[in-house]
Symmetry: C2
Subunit: 422 residues, 2 copies
């Protein structure tokens, strides 16, 4: 059985490698047509997709999945339509492959160009949301990468149905049918094979899901991983902030959606304006059912504030709970973020440009925001079309990862008989 599985995966790996060679040379129009066909086929097969999803939902309820998990798993006509329009948006974007990044000439007349090319084969391991099957497949295809998808077992039937639509679209296209492959088993051993690189056919693994999934992938992978760890985001209200703007931004940053990685978990407030700002801010938060945990100063400014522990400042709540801390000054805020933050997204609210510039420079996070909500941490809001995730690593890609970040490059050297002197 396990031998069987290994052979099955080896074939998937080989198919992916061959597809990657074809995809790397595919022209932009062929990729665009294939993506448009994918959207069409998903719409055409929406009934089958919803039927499969109902099966998964029923099994999920029986298994006792949480409400949040069932919500992530659930599809509707609207959500299927969103999948299709998201693929169309990816189709409409500029093709990153072949883009000239740089071009220069050396004094000896040798000319160089640096062009974007696909990475090769991307392995994607994800949990409940079935739309990832469509999104990840489309982003990999747009960037000329073959992909091997491994969805969560709880979304098994939904993923299969979506994948069926994708394949039927690919067969009508000029691209290899195996450009996108879904591992057709819930056998957990398959993940291990994927992580060990399937006999050198996988160039990169992208995990998307909860902490335990990411941790397993990072510890077991023998190929590079583009990982999304925590989003422990901060909003800092500086002494020179417009306090009305600050209230609006903080409310949005914390409560627009509490379950997204760009939601603010800790509010830092400059001590110069704490007494004026915090009572109103905390009123607003608590009136909107947000629990507030604070340091001693914050507690002294509002009776609803519960004490925050050191551990609270390290916690990504993904819920209607916020930590509040009064800091000495700009540097105090930067130091707090450096110590407790996760390098995801952090914001300053101030009308003082010098303070904003220093914050931008000194905060070492993928996204550093001035006078806006941390919830803009999203590939769509950045104009990247869809995103395959938000990278919290420092290498290759950082922040929202769209099609253009699923590329690498090569150097083309143009000579006229150049030889290198001794």
């Amino acid at each position: 059985m396990s031998d069987n599985l290994h052979n099955q995966l080896k074939i998937i790996g080989k198919n992916a490698r061959v597809a990657a060679q074809g995809l790397a040379l595919a022209n932009a129009q062929d990729k665009r047509s294939a993506l448009t066909a994918m959207a069409t086929h998903i719409r055409m097969q929406s009934e089958a997709i919803l039927r499969a999803n109902a099966k998964d939902l029923k099994a999920g309820k029986e298994k006792g999945l949480s409400g949040a998990m069932l919500d992530r798993l659930a599809l509707s006509n609207e959500r299927v339509e969103n999948m299709a329009t998201s693929i169309e948006a990816i189709a409409a974007m500029d093709d990153p492959v072949g883009t000239l990044e740089k071009e220069w000439e050396q004094p000896n007349g040798l000319r160089f160009s640096k062009v974007k090319i696909p990475i090769g084969v991307i392995g994607m391991i994800y949990e409940s949301r079935p739309n990832v099957t469509a999104d990840a497949g489309a982003l990999c295809l747009k960037s000329g990468n073959a992909c091997i998808l491994r969805g969560g077992s709880e979304a098994f039937h939904s993923n299969q149905a979506i994948y069926k639509a994708i394949v039927s679209a690919l067969t009508t296209s000029a691209l290899p049918e195996t450009a996108i492959q879904l591992i057709p088993t819930t056998d957990r051993l398959a993940v291990g094979h994927l992580l060990s690189g399937l006999d050198d056919t996988v160039d990169m693994i992208i995990p998307r899901g909860g902490k335990s999934l990411i941790a397993r992938v990072q510890s077991d992978a023998r190929v590079p991983v583009l990982a999304h760890l925590e989003g422990l985001c901060h909003s800092y209200v500086h002494a020179d902030a417009d306090l009305e703007m600050a209230k609006e931004i903080v409310m949005n940053a914390k409560l627009r959606r509490t379950g997204v990685c760009g939601s603010t978990e800790t509010l830092l407030v400059d001590k110069a304006i704490a007494a004026k700002f915090l009572p109103q801010m905390i009123d607003l938060l608590t009136k909107n059912d947000c629990e507030v945990r604070g340091d001693a100063t914050t507690q002294s400014l509002h009776e609803a504030v519960k004490p925050a522990t050191d551990n609270d400042y390290f916690t990504e709540y993904l819920a209607a709970i916020i930590n509040v801390k009064v800091v000495e000054n700009l540097q105090g805020a930067i130091d707090h973020i450096g110590h407790y933050g996760s390098g995801h997204t952090d914001a300053i609210i101030t009308n003082n440009q010098i303070a904003a510039d220093y914050f931008h420079q000194a905060v070492d996070s993928a996204i550093v925001v001035h006078n806006a909500s941390t919830q803009f941490a999203d590939g769509g809001e950045f104009g990247f079309g869809a995103e395959i995730g938000i990278s919290t690593g420092r290498l290759h890609a950082r922040g929202p990862v769209g099609a253009e970040h699923l590329t690498t490059f090569k150097y083309l050297v143009h000579g006229q008989g150049h030889v290198r002197p001794k």
Copy 2:
């Protein structure tokens, strides 16, 4: 003892992390001055460096190191001067940190900028050449990264002496003295600690040395690795090549220096010109003491040709031996390179622009060359100043790695009170 070592390395890691914070905010002029001081101090201390090197050479001879290894280890007045001028060249380059890569505005008025920043702390593990101590230290400093160096035991005294000069320069500078640190022990356990990331202080490891070193680093590292594997480079003489140009390029590509990674190991010749080109080419090679191994056709064209085995085509000789194979056509050459190559550097020699463009597109190597020697695979020749190595991986950096590639980026978001709609 091992506890002691671990504590010692923990302190080195902490120092590096603190230094990295300072370096990330250091201005271009302070870094330039520190580099210039490093060059000066290396010149001032050249006698001590040469004395230390003599000690290493003596020990190396006693240990029976090969002539090639002793040559890599040996310093001279000229080589010390080259170290200093190489650092000065790095000092003179544009500072990559803070460079604006991109800037755009979304329809909602939110503005984005993408700026280059340092990676953080880089661990460098290398073998015999002591100049790496100076080069790697200078490149990391230029790019705003703190670095932890671990040189080969055979160059221990040389590295210590060079490092002493570097530190004496850093103490006169505005930068942290611990911006560059050298692990002061030959204990092999230190490498293991470095590979496991020194309690999360190392962001990236760069190994530089032989195959076994790279293999160990890749299998044991718990942090991302920027590795340089083999340079199995090809030169392909196309049917429409200028044969005089081809002879000159092939001679240079193979024999200018046989021990560098960009040297050509296999010559591919289009069958249309094989009978005309190969006899002269092989004459030239053999007259210059290059052994030629070839397929049946090549053997039939010149009596000096020995048979090439399949394994020969997979071998990076780094010596005066060349494989020759006659290929059917352009696609045959591309297929051979795809199967046997290492994705390092491959060249086509042709006056046919369409063939050259297709070769550029279809060959999946870091560097793809037209009408020039593969020996141009070198950061200096690319205009990157010095290089820390040539990456054969596909992620983050590919090809020659200079200061600008030792960076990552962050996004700065500029709002005017923007909140994200539901």
